[in-house]
C-alpha cells in the first residue's frame, strides 16, 4: 500500500501541472490528508480497490469514431470530453461566451481563478480519503458557470473515457465544478465509459452550487463495462427557492459507489434524487444519499428503483436530516427493489434524523420479486413471458423515467434498458 501512495505522490510531481498557487496549497493539504486518511476510508467502505498496482494511463490514441457512439449529442450541445482524466480539446465543444463551459487549466484568466477559489473544494470534505485523493490528483477540472438569469439552450455533456491498454489497473480523477447563477437553468449529462482494455477506477468528485431561483437537471449515466469501478461523490449546495434534480442511472460496472450529499442552505429549496439500477453479473452498486434540511419550507423527494439479477448486489442508504430550524420540511423517500435471482441481495436502509417539529417526512422501502399473476395476465393476452417481464420492468422504473425532461435522453435510457433486457419495445410505456 505504501508503494501505491508513493507512486501517486511522485506522479503528481512528475506531471508539473501549471496551476494557480491556491490550488497548489490545496493539493499539498490533500496529499497530507491522503497520507493519513485514504486507507482508513477504504477500510470503512470495505473496498479492496486500492490494494493494486495502479498505472496512470496516458494512451490517448483514440479517434472520433471511437467516442462518437457514446455521445448523446454531436451537435446542438456543449460538451467536455476527457480521456484518461485529461481534457481533450479536439473532441470537446466548450464555450466561454456569456457563460463558462470549459476547463480550469485552459484559457481561464486570473480574474476567473479568483472567482473559482470561492467555490472549489469548499463542499467536498477534506477529511475524506477519496475526496482528498481526487483533490490531490485531479488534473483538468470541468468548470460550468452559468451567469444570473441565463437559460442554457442545449444540454451539457460531460464525458469521461478511459483508454488504457493491457489490462492495467488505471486511476482516473474526474472533477466537476458547477455554479448556477440566480434564476439560471441548465441540464447536464455525465457519462463514464471504458474504451480500452484497462481496468479503470474512476474517483470522481462533483461540487454543485445552485443560487436563488435557479434550476439544475443533472443526469449520471453509469453504463460501464463489467471490470470498471466508479466512486462518485457529489455535493450540492442549494440557495433560496432553487431546484436541483439529480438522476443516477446505474447499469453496469464492477463496483459503483454513489455518495450524494445535498445541503439545503436556505428556505423553500427543492431537491430531487432519482435512481434506477438495473444490474446483472457480479456487481455492487452502492447508493448513499444524504439530504440535509437546515431551513424552513424545504422539500425533498427521493425515489430509487433497483432490479437485480444474477449475482448483483445493491445497497441503498438514504439519510435525511431535518435540523431544528427546518420547520415545515416536506421530505419523501422511497426505495423499491426487485430481485430476479436467488443469488442477488439488496440492503436498504432509510435513515431519518428529525430535530424539528411540524414536518412531513415519509419513507418506505420494498424488496420483492415479480408478480406472477401479472405475468400470467400478459401471457393470457398472447404476450410472451419474456416480453411480459420486460414490460413489467419498464413499468416498474417508469415512475423515474417519466420525469426525464430531455426526450433524446429518455429515448437513450429506454434503449439501454431494452438492450440490457434483450427486448425491442417499439413504444414508450
Amino acid at each position: 500500500m505504501i508503494d501505491i501512495k508513493k507512486k501517486i505522490i511522485s506522479s503528481y510531481f512528475k506531471k508539473k501541472i501549471p496551476w494557480h498557487e491556491y490550488f497548489h496549497t490545496l493539493r499539498f493539504d490533500a496529499i497530507k490528508t491522503l497520507k493519513k486518511k485514504v486507507f482508513t476510508t477504504i477500510e470503512a467502505w470495505n473496498i479492496p480497490l486500492l490494494n493494486r498496482d495502479y498505472m496512470f494511463s496516458h494512451n490517448t490514441s483514440i479517434e472520433w469514431k471511437d467516442i462518437q457512439p457514446h455521445l448523446l449529442y454531436t451537435t446542438d450541445s456543449y460538451r467536455l470530453v476527457f480521456v484518461n482524466g485529461v481534457y481533450s480539446a479536439r473532441f470537446s465543444k466548450p464555450t466561454q461566451r456569456y457563460k463558462n463551459i470549459c476547463v480550469f487549466s485552459h484559457g481561464l484568466s486570473p480574474e476567473k481563478y479568483v472567482y473559482i477559489i470561492a467555490y472549489y473544494a469548499k463542499l467536498s470534505s477534506s477529511q475524506d480519503g477519496f475526496n482528498a485523493l481526487n483533490t490531490a490528483l485531479a488534473q483538468d477540472v470541468a468548470y460550468i458557470h452559468i451567469p444570473d438569469g441565463l437559460r442554457v439552450e442545449h444540454p451539457i455533456q460531460l464525458v469521461y473515457f478511459s483508454s488504457g491498454v493491457d489490462s492495467h489497473y488505471t486511476l482516473i480523477f474526474p472533477r466537476n465544478l458547477v455554479i448556477l447563477g440566480k434564476g439560471s437553468y441548465a441540464e447536464i449529462i455525465e457519462k463514464h465509459y471504458t474504451l480500452g482494455s484497462d481496468i479503470p477506477l474512476s474517483n470522481s468528485v462533483t461540487e454543485i452550487y445552485t443560487d436563488t431561483h435557479s434550476h439544475l437537471e443533472y443526469f449520471k449515466i453509469q453504463n460501464e463495462i463489467s471490470k470498471s469501478s466508479l466512486i462518485d461523490q457529489t455535493f450540492i449546495y442549494q440557495k433560496f427557492k432553487s431546484k436541483c434534480s439529480i438522476s443516477t442511472f446505474s447499469f453496469g460496472g464492477k463496483l459503483v459507489r454513489n455518495n450524494l450529499h445535498i445541503y439545503q442552505r436556505d428556505s423553500k429549496v427543492c431537491s430531487k434524487l432519482n435512481g434506477i439500477s438495473i444490474l446483472h453479473g457480479k456487481i455492487l452498486v452502492d447508493h448513499h444519499t444524504v439530504i440535509e434540511h437546515a431551513y424552513p419550507n424545504g422539500k425533498s423527494n427521493e425515489i430509487y428503483k433497483g432490479i437485480f439479477d444474477d449475482k448483483a448486489k445493491g445497497v441503498f442508504n438514504g439519510k435525511i436530516i431535518v435540523r431544528k430550524e427546518a420547520k415545515k420540511t416536506d421530505a419523501f423517500q422511497r426505495n423499491n427493489n426487485i430481485l430476479l435471482s436467488r443469488k442477488t441481495s439488496v440492503k436498504t436502509k432509510p435513515h431519518l434524523e428529525i430535530f424539528a417539529d411540524d414536518v412531513l417526512c415519509s419513507h418506505g422501502c420494498t424488496i420483492g420479486k415479480f408478480n406472477e399473476q401479472a405475468i400470467f395476465y400478459f401471457r393470457s393476452r398472447g404476450i410472451s413471458e419474456k416480453e411480459a417481464r420486460a414490460q413489467l420492468m419498464f413499468a416498474f422504473v417508469q415512475e423515474v423515467l417519466e420525469h426525464i425532461p430531455i426526450p433524446k435522453l429518455k429515448k437513450h435510457i429506454y434503449e439501454i434498458i431494452s438492450k440490457k433486457m434483450n427486448v425491442y419495445l417499439n413504444f414508450y410505456l
Binding site: 401471457r379 393470457s380 398472447g382 414490460q391 413489467l392 419498464f394 413499468a395 416498474f396 417499439n426
Partner: protein, 247 residues
C-alpha cells in the same frame, strides 16, 4: 370447438376437478353455475393455461388441438380469451400500449406485419365507442384505481380488440351494480356472432337474463352434476344450490 374429456385436476393434494366433460360448438353460449368452491374458476384457469395446477387425467381439445400442451400465450393466439374474475392492477402500463403489444404478438405469431398506428387507433376507437368506454380510461395504467365496472368493461374491451373464438367470462358479473352489469352485458352481446362461442361462469342468474345461454351446466364438487337449457337457471334461482347438493 372446445372439447373437455374426463378432466381431473388437483392443486397439491387437493382434488379440484373430478371428471369434467364439456363440449362447446361455435356459435354457442354455455353457462357454468355452481356454489363457491365447486371448481368454476379452476376450470377457467386451466383452459387459459395458468400454472400451479396438475392435470391428473383427461384432456382438453380446442379445434382438434391438444390444448394442455400449449403455453398461455399460444392458447391466446389459438383464440382463447379469459376475462378475469379479479383483473390485476398493473401500474405503469397503459391499456392502449398493453393491447397494442398483445395485438402485435398475435400478428407476429401469424407471421403478419405489425399493425399500423392508424389502423390501431381506428380499431381502438371503434371498440371503445361500441362499449361506451371513456377514452381517458384507455390511457391510464391497467386497472389502477378503476371501479369494479371499469375493470370488467376493460376486460371486455380487450376481448373486443383480440376477437377470440372462445371467450371465458369468469364471474364477469360479480361486483357490478345493475347499470354496470347492463353495460357490460350489452357489450358482450354486441361481440357475439355465429363464429365465436362464450363460456360464462357465474353464481347468479342475473347476467344470464341479458346474455341468454344455450346450455347451462351446474358444477358441484368438481363435477358437472346437471346440464340443461336456460330454464335450469330459473329452477336454481328458486331452489338454490342446496337443491343440487341434496340431489
Amino acid at each position: 370447438m372446445l372439447n373437455i374429456i374426463d378432466l381431473h385436476v388437483r392443486i397439491k393434494e387437493k382434488k379440484i376437478l373430478r371428471g369434467i366433460n364439456l363440449k362447446i360448438k361455435k356459435g354457442e353460449i354455455h353457462a357454468i353455475m355452481g356454489p363457491n368452491g365447486s371448481g368454476k374458476s379452476t376450470l377457467s384457469s386451466i383452459i387459459a393455461g395458468k400454472e400451479g395446477y396438475e392435470v391428473t387425467h383427461g384432456s382438453i381439445f380446442f379445434e382438434g388441438k391438444n390444448l394442455l400442451k400449449y403455453s398461455p400465450e399460444k392458447r391466446a393466439h389459438l383464440g382463447i380469451f379469459l376475462s378475469f374474475q379479479y383483473p390485476i392492477e398493473i401500474p405503469g402500463v397503459s391499456i392502449t400500449n398493453f393491447i397494442r403489444t398483445a395485438i402485435n404478438s398475435f400478428r407476429e405469431a401469424k407471421g403478419l406485419e405489425e399493425m399500423t398506428a392508424t389502423e390501431m387507433l381506428k380499431k381502438i376507437h371503434k371498440n371503445s365507442t361500441l362499449l361506451g368506454i371513456d377514452k381517458n380510461l384507455l390511457y391510464r395504467s391497467i386497472n389502477e384505481g378503476f371501479s369494479g365496472g371499469e375493470k370488467k368493461l376493460t376486460e371486455i374491451f380487450q376481448m373486443a380488440m383480440l376477437e377470440p373464438k372462445l371467450a371465458i367470462l369468469d364471474e364477469t358479473d360479480s361486483g357490478l351494480d345493475i347499470d354496470a352489469l347492463r353495460i357490460v352485458a350489452n357489450g358482450i352481446n354486441s361481440l357475439k356472432n355465429r363464429e365465436n362461442a362464450l363460456l360464462i361462469i357465474t353464481h347468479y342468474n342475473r347476467i344470464l337474463q341479458y346474455i341468454v345461454p344455450d346450455y347451462v351446466h351446474v358444477l358441484y364438487q368438481g363435477q358437472i352434476v346437471k346440464s340443461g337449457d336456460k330454464k335450469l337457471t330459473m329452477e336454481l334461482e328458486k331452489k338454490g344450490y342446496d337443491w343440487i347438493k341434496t340431489h
